[in-house]
Symmetry: C2
Subunit: 458 residues, 2 copies
């Protein structure tokens, strides 16, 4: 039988002030960015070292007490909710850069550092860490949820950029996966098994990340399109031609309207692509020229090219503020963001059908997409205490997921499963979910690692 | 107790002529590209479909009979040797291209197709599959061993280019992993767990591969260097600057001498980089110019640039023939190729120390490297029936592996573990090998899947 109280008493003896049961702290770690009720843990631990994480897990393991890792709480499917109580392990104190290797293009970091903090630390090296999910998430959280984002079309996703991990297992053992070499065929790929495992297989305590050289030149562009398909088809052509575009973001008319209002812009309220090019001075100019030609072939127009840093910053600042801009359109509502990913040739259809479904129910929902990856997000804006609205949001999400599967895609491109997408995981993977459950049991026989997420094992 | 004879009798009833126990067939499937004695299976099955693979595995599962998948037998660490007997499953009949999706840049193939056959089939589409390990291996074998090769510095390794799999599990269940979408965060990454699992967790029956657009322009170059370090440092600089070089191969003086003799070339017998650039016409010219400047900064010279297809082909044909060219230098010997991978800043040291070790024992061993990845190969040429020579080759290999680990690298960048590197896997991963064994037990509780490879479970 789980004995969380006994585990917490032992932890308190080890950690002192760094084990909190203060209601405000518990409440904060029970929050989520979606529609679930606040679900506080029984206690929150603040370890300083891997050895302490191991000690915490050993004690919790002994007493059958759940452990839930916590970064900054930006996950979107209830990943970090302690739905069976237990101890949340907040990584805020484990936020150091342990090593930067400029020649080998890697950095070793602790999980609590955010991607913006990391890039600030890297600035003087001429290197950067490119994965950008929008939110200023922690690297640990981005690793655990298999995040990606706007630059993935060029630099890859977390799975491509995590080289090695240190992980505390369910019984407190500490293992190292991967190496500092760029590639390895040495045994089962534990690194990529832990990436996206959402704290259910182990607790990530150190991450070795690929770094990239800051490009010599960066330029940005926006282009208008008459419809979804013309924007998406332009991207398909660019991808087929291998154009080295670093970001290609679709922004729908409704989002443009919100951005205009929120960021004091004056873009035409139609379909847009926001693009960024990285390379040499001549390279980015050539890429932009080609992209302009492609866009115009597909009916695009109003191509604007920005080489000045402040113009670029303004554009991407607007894109990153899309969530807040849209929420500002409907004050007092909650915003629920969901994501799916489909083969790019099906993307326009998936987005158009989703919008048609939303509008058929009298709603509006802005849509943005990492088009180069076939990944898009819909933001539902409603009052989550209104049961009818919540039910409709869930129905629309369900159909969006099933539509993605019918088109050969996946129910999540980058947000992960958490608790919100568990039933869709079964729809997507069928028998393979039983194999995932076997893995869960092999790694966590007593079921203490963030239980009730990704797969049910009982 | 395993009852291989009973399994084979039942298989014979199902498969008829497509289950062979002919000595010549058994001998062929007992061969290997390294120093192990011929180790034939008890029978060889030639399935036509996934359903047949499932049926074969179910029968073998019932009788505890090992099953070993087989592509074309190019693996280098004894991966496909049936060391505990059983049934080899030869995928030669399962060699079809099932689907090519030009807009979505993927192809679905059966495991028995070779990479050259696939690229021949793709030729008219303007697309290609870039991973090139040298040997004309099957896609199934390349997936199972987590192969990479000369183009990995630009296009990635198998792990980056396999999107989805169909796999037959140890009890005959058929699962599908991944999707046709470019990315997914939907549950544990089973795809990348099977990539590199060498037939020990399941039998891969279908592979969805990323394709790439054939570049508009391709050019090649060679450059001479006074020593290992100057060649490697040029590559480090190119990688740091993000130069889009598609291949960057180090070839040592001894290999150059062999290539000159074998391919009737007249290169200076010193350290070389062989390079290839993919992009637009102006892009490849710019990249080559920059690469020339970098190489000269590090003491390189004699930079020769080839835009004509026949000159390029000659160059890469020579590189691909390096193995045979070197064997031709010592007629009558066996060639044993081994690989390790280190952080690129340690590569020159690793290669120089290895050569010094080899020469200190009165041997010579050519060395070639996928420098951009920090991966290099040494070819030991000796008579494998000579016990003293075999022992020395094993000792030199052992020190090469331990040296890679001391430098932060891995004991195999692309060849895999098989039986040859199992003890080094333990040296590299320690406690994590026990986790790999847990995975093996979870997937294959009766131990029939290519037993005795990667990890020992007893």
């Amino acid at each position: 039988m789980p004995n969380n109280a006994q585990a917490i008493a032992e932890l308190k003896a080890h950690l002192g002030d760094r084990l909190s049961t203060a209601p405000s702290i518990l409440h904060l770690h029970g929050e989520n960015e979606t529609y679930y009720d606040n679900t506080p843990p029984d206690a929150v631990a603040f370890p300083n070292t891997t050895a302490e994480v191991s000690e915490i897990v050993k004690i919790c393991h002994k007493h059958g007490c759940p452990v839930i890792p916590w970064g900054v709480g930006t996950s979107l499917e209830g990943h970090a909710l302690p739905i069976r109580g237990g101890v949340t392990i907040d990584m805020i104190n484990m936020n150091k850069v342990i090593e930067v290797a400029p020649e080998d293009l890697y950095a070793i970091v602790e999980p609590g550092i955010t991607r913006e903090e990391l890039n600030t630390e890297l600035r003087a090296t001429g290197l950067f860490f490119p994965v950008d999910p929008g939110a200023n998430a922690t690297i640990g959280g981005m690793t655990a949820t298999s995040a990606s984002g706007t630059t993935t079309v060029r630099y890859g996703k977390m799975k491509d950029n995590v080289m090695a991990l240190e992980v505390v297992l369910a019984d407190g053992r500490i293992i190292r996966t991967g190496s500092k070499a760029k590639k390895s065929s040495a045994g089962y790929d534990l690194t990529r098994l832990f990436v996206g495992s959402e704290g259910t297989l182990g607790i990530i305590t150190q991450i070795t990340l690929k770094l990239h050289g800051q490009p010599e030149a960066i330029s940005a562009a926006v282009c208008e399109f008459p419809d979804t398909a013309s924007a998406v088809n332009s991207v398909i052509m660019a991808v087929q031609m291998g154009l080295p575009v670093a970001r290609m973001e679709y922004v729908d008319p409704m989002s443009i309207k919100a951005l205009n209002a929120y960021s004091n812009l004056s873009m035409t309220e139609t379909h847009h692509l926001f693009m960024e090019f990285h390379g040499s001075d001549s390279g980015v100019a050539e890429t932009a020229d080609r992209m302009k030609d492609i866009a115009e072939d597909f009916g695009g127009g109003g191509f604007q090219y920005a080489t000045k840093a402040e113009d670029r910053t303004k554009l991407w600042h607007a894109r990153h503020n899309a969530y807040f801009a849209m929420k500002a359109q409907k004050p007092g509502t909650d915003g629920i963001s969901t994501d799916v990913c489909v083969p790019i040739s099906k993307l326009a259809q998936a987005m158009d059908d989703t919008i048609a479904d939303v509008e058929a129910h009298g709603w509006q929902a802005p849509i943005v997409g990492h088009v180069g990856d076939g990944n898009y997000h819909v933001l539902f804006l409603f009052d989550r205490t209104n049961a009818a609205d919540l039910a409709l949001a869930k129905d629309l999400t369900a159909r969006m997921n099933m539509r993605a599967l019918e088109l050969g895609g996946t129910v999540t491109g980058e947000h992960g499963i958490g608790i919100g997408k568990m039933k869709y995981l079964e729809a997507e993977h069928g028998e393979a979910v039983n194999v995932m459950a076997d893995i869960k049991r092999a790694f966590d026989p007593t079921g203490i690692m963030n239980p009730g997420k990704i797969v049910n094992v009982n």
